[in-house]
Amino acid sequence: MKEQLLKLKTEALNQLKECNNNADIEKVRIHFLGKKGQLTAILRSMGSLSPEERPEIGKIANEVRTTIEEEIQSMKEEVHRKESVERIKSETLDITMPGRIPEIGRRHPLMKVKEELESVFMRMGYDVISGPEIETVQNNFDDLNTPYDHPSRDWSDTFYISDDLVLRTHTSPVEIRVMKEAVKAGKLPIRMVSTGRTFRFDDVDDTHSPMFHQMECLVVDKGVTMANLKDSIDQFVKELFGTSVKTRFRPHNFPFTEPSAEVDVSCHICMGKGCPACNGTGWSMELLGCGMTHPNVLRNCGIDPEIYSGYAFGMGIDRVAMVKYGIPNIRLLFENDVRFLKQF
């Protein structure tokens, strides 16, 4: 029986040597080690052995099984290794073929600019406040110290809903709301920005639209100065357009601020050297209007101008977006052509 076992071992190992895939190996395994396999058959016949022979033959039988099993295992590993090499060889991709990009939509360019502006100011500690698009004449004009005969009140300038309601012509009425609210709640000082839709009686052309967007900024505190206003604007202009941009403060007139100024930024094309785009001035069109909050406006909101002062500024978001993205025509912003929207 011992010989039988050793012969079986040699036979199995020989057969295994012939194998080069898992199926053949498995056949060999079943042939020798399976339930009906040869080794099993031998082991079953062990009952005919004498009690003295059994331990010895049993030991040999186990050794034979282990040897065969180990060889099968190593053969399997070898086959797997070979297969892996083969697979790697045969699986080269043309990695220059296009990837499948999951579609990510885009924010509207105006909203991108609006959110960027808001986030700049939030980082500087300003609250972001919203206001209604339909405003009272009182908030939109009266409390902002707009003279009763100011042309901006004309029907040819402003959309009216009733004698007392208009489509807001600027985001400045949000200042009035915030100041009155702050006084009521005893929550001065104020640092706020507000962005949103604004409306003026303008026919649509390349640079005009009856609806456009503005951002408003207001600070009210004790000891706020024009020097502070300049600093804030400088900071934010640098944040928005980069540090190489210069600003120029030009005296102007707005009913709700005094002194008032318009701010020009150096031409983004020639960087201030003068070029046809800026009429050789080196300054591009005015970026924003600003000034120290008019004492009448503070008074209208119940704030004592002897104790508090404030500054405010407002700017058109549409134009900033157009400059920033090089959009030549304001109509493009409101047409919403998907091929346009995909660009930003």
């Binding site: 939509g105 959309f159 502070n228």
Partner: protein, 799 residues
Amino acid sequence: MLVPIKWMKEYVDINVDDKTLADQLTLTGSHVDAVIDYNKEVKNVVTGKILEIKKHPNADKLSVTKVDINEGEPLQIITGATNIKKGDIVPLALEGAELPIGLKIKKTNFRGLASYGMMVSYEELGFEDKVIPKEAKDGIIILPKDTPLGRDIKEVLDLTGSALEVEVTFNRPDCLNIVGMARETAATLGTKFKFPEIKITNEEGDIRDYLNGVEIEDEDLCSRFYARVIKDIKIGPSPLWMQRTLMDAGMRPINNIVDVTNYVMLELGQPLHAYDLEKLEGRKLIARRAKKGEKITTIDEVERTLDEDMLVIADAVNPACIAGVMGGYDSEISENTKIMVLETANFNPKSVRETSKKLGLRSEASARNEKPMGYVMCEIASNRACQLIEMIGAGTVVGGYLEAGKSQYEPPVVTMRPHRANALLGAEIPVAHMLNSLNSLEIESVYDGEKITSRIPYFRTDIEQEADLIEEVGRLYGFENIESKPLRGSTRVGRKSELRMLEDEMKSILCGMGLYEITTYSFISPKAYDSICIPQDSPLRNYVKILNPLGEDFSSMRTTLIPNMMEVVQRNSNRGVEEAKLYEVGSIFIPKDQPVREEPIEKLKLCIGMYGNYDFFDLKGIIEGMLFRFGIKSVIKPLTENPTFHPGRTAALYVNEELIGIYGEASPQVSDNYDLDHRVYLAELDVEKILKYKNTEWKYEPLPKYPSMVRDIAVVVKDEVLAGEMEEAIKAVNPYLIESVKLFDVYKGEHIEKGYKSTAFSVTYRNKERTLKEKEVEKIHEKVLQVLEKKFGAKLRQE
């Protein structure tokens, strides 16, 4: 406003070049938009006298002339001009001449006769049509009789210099004239300003012998009326210098009297009006409200109907002028006028503005009268005009004047605390500098060691309080010279409202899911409600109406975002864009009353629109995915009665029984209305309600420790059975052990009876506390089948 620098130099010393002047004025607040160069490219054009004019033998429309240019033989010039006559002095472009319109003059043959040059018009010298004198409009420039011959036309017409195009701000009407700008320039440059010296040399007679009186009936509309009389009027062209000055300032010369009034208006800012005295009934002028329906024919020969809100200057019977706006045709100065009344007055700016608007009449005069003006100027301007009329020999000034209304000017006093000015500006401007600035603006100011006291001159109607003086001091000091200083105060975190944060997050989610944001107008056409098939009695048709829209198509504040979305879909589709997924977050406007008096309610809505290779379930997935991110559990119900939507493919979305939105396929009718072949998927959700139900207090839940078991079940049910309800029913069999139910197949066709469908669910079982046993799962799974059989008449699918 157009400011010829040459003209301004008569009143102020300018010691810098034009560009520097423009920059400096800009920095003190007179924004110079452009410097217009008047130096014209004119070469070799000289003055010549026409000695003879003959008909061209071979051409009917041409004349053969001889022109003397005071050098050599007279030149033969062939011309088609019709406004010339023998003895006229004209500009002649000689051989080799160059004209600014790009013309070069050569010797030319006209039907056999040589022409050695060309007579020149203002147009050919590069003048704009609107400033060319009437009589020179369609012809050659006829120069004054005393013009020397052979002179360079550049010199004769003074074709030099430049003008500033200045943007004058609303608060500074005093700068809407040359003298005012000269005053600003002096203060800006620190140079000397001189007001024109006004002196009439010869006055004859007494005004009372000519004019019976002037009266103001309505003092609220007219605060001062001032009249002088000029006799022996000789209407003719004004002198060349005056014509050219007006032209450079953008105004067309008309005749000597009109030109003088225009000249004074441009110089001093005070509009003047001249009446033919002999045409005035009762020889008097009354400033009074018009009677209702009263009529006047204005100088543009249009009959205007007036009302009681309008001020007229009337004679004893009829209106002779719409005050401050336009004169009457009947009393207008004509070639036959011998005696005239010169009116200067101070009208209520608002009334002028409203009158001019109501009549649709705007003039240079009305534009100025719409702004507040000191009434002191009436007298000054009137005398200045008399002086000029006398000077150019257009008439003789009659002695005296008649006036009504205010005449004494008591300058208001405003004080300013220098420390307050510096505190507000954040600067350290010395008091001396402040005083100097104010005085250079002719605001008489003194300092008493504590405050500056200023007497406000008549022309500065804008200065009423301390802040106004601070502005003057600040702008002349130069905002550029104020050093930036950071804000002081405690640092704080900027905040955004919850609604805004939700809106931002919503946009991020939607963009992440491949949607593009659009921005459309807040107003729409009322017809849009028809286009999206809104029923006549729907509250959506109760909209806020704009009283003065840009047009009917922009007259309704939107009550839904869908029409704009449909338009954008339509536009993209028409332009060949094959598919699009779009959204807009915007307000709708709901009136509280009609006609609207109260502030309407503004509600933030989210609208989604998609077309192309998408279906209902793409849209549903987007909405469910978004709501899931906000922790909102919603239920939907089929919505069959909204005509905007397809009745079989639309869902109403509820949270806690509250409707928060609608989504589904646009009805075929709506697609047709927008000429779309595509199916369009639309959603409109209430953003504030999403905020209300948002629950993103995320908390950790332990990960499952024990394995799950998955069993599939396929049943056949009638078509109309809703998958969602089956899903709910399966879950309800054992909410504790059934972790999830997923529909994975719906099949109709072969092997399935018509009117039925096979619906296959995959059910995941899990016990959170121990490993499930095969048998207990089998038992529940059987129960699932029983429930489906009982509730939905389902049969296990056999195969």
